[in-house]
Symmetry: C2
Subunit: 185 residues, 2 copies
């Protein structure tokens, strides 16, 4: 999966592994995060497979920056992947629910403080999403010239942000209900 995220971003413009990490952290990390270690190793593998090429940028002598570019093969791989629609529900994993599921024998206060802490984190996450200015949440500059495409891309980015917002709100509501239910045990 990470492979396609990297191809997706490199399809906008050439970037270093570090840039890709920041791009991901600022957008797709909300529904697919990655560690820098995985990004660098995946990029190397993709280069071996001919999906990307890289050149070392030495304009700034003391800083080694390896810039990756998507290849024709990479573009067609991305297109091929996007062409095959999902026919199943993506599996969801949530370790908090696993914990809650098996919390029957746990101390009530302990469970409550865990949920209250998660509530805080969810609240922060929601605020983080709310602070994102829709007009700034969009693909890199490369596409700004081609106005139509840029706007279209940005619309899709925002849709995923909308789900993030709805998700956090739903989760907060459920946490509140769950917390008061446990309080009244």
């Amino acid at each position: 999966m990470l492979k396609y995220i990297l191809l997706g971003f490199l399809n906008y413009q050439g970037m270093t592994g570090y840039d890709l990490k920041r791009s991901i952290d600022g957008s797709t990390a909300h529904f697919w995060h990655a560690y820098h270690s995985q990004i660098y190793t995946t990029l190397r593998k993709m280069e071996r497979d001919g999906l990307v090429t890289s050149v070392i940028d030495d304009t700034d002598e003391r800083l080694e920056r390896r810039i990756y570019q998507i290849t024709k093969q990479g573009k067609s791989k991305l297109k091929e992947w996007l062409g095959k629609s999902l026919t199943e529900l993506p599996p969801s994993k949530d370790s908090l629910l696993v914990r809650l599921f098996f919390s029957g024998s746990r101390d009530r206060q302990e469970v409550l403080s865990e949920l209250r802490f998660q509530r805080q984190l969810r609240q922060q996450q929601l605020e983080l999403y709310q602070q994102i200015k829709p007009e700034e949440y969009s693909p890199p500059s490369q596409l700004r010239s081609d106005t139509l495409d840029f706007d279209r891309e940005a619309k899709f980015w925002r849709m995923t942000l909308d789900l993030g917002l709805a998700y956090e709100q739903m989760y907060l509501k459920w946490l509140d209900e769950t917390i008061s239910q446990i309080e009244s045990f």
Copy 2:
């Protein structure tokens, strides 16, 4: 993670790998699924680590059933894990969102049919959750004798089901909004 799910179920009663697979499919799979291959290999590893023991049941001669039991070590491992509250948000991964995020260049009708299909699947998933009778969604019989514990366990199970219901409803709403937004492009 799977390790703790298996310990959690075995803490109710001894079971075979197959039983565990069915238990998971009927409950925790909604927030943590597992393939039978992983269940069997994880059980073997847990046995080597002293968290479970197994005996082969030969009452039915032609059928080999390996029944796993949790050990004292296994119980304390589970307790220890439940004791350490989560201090971060569990990362969520959703490949549909990754696809949508990079769908700027895709054919509109193609994206729409993918989302409509996902809508159907989400609707089915919601109905599946709605058909679960809360009074039947509870731990195995072993605990029925101990009424208090059983009821407490069942409450936690239902809370996770509540999130599943809220999640599917939120997702459906978002899909509907997203679909009509793309229709009006």
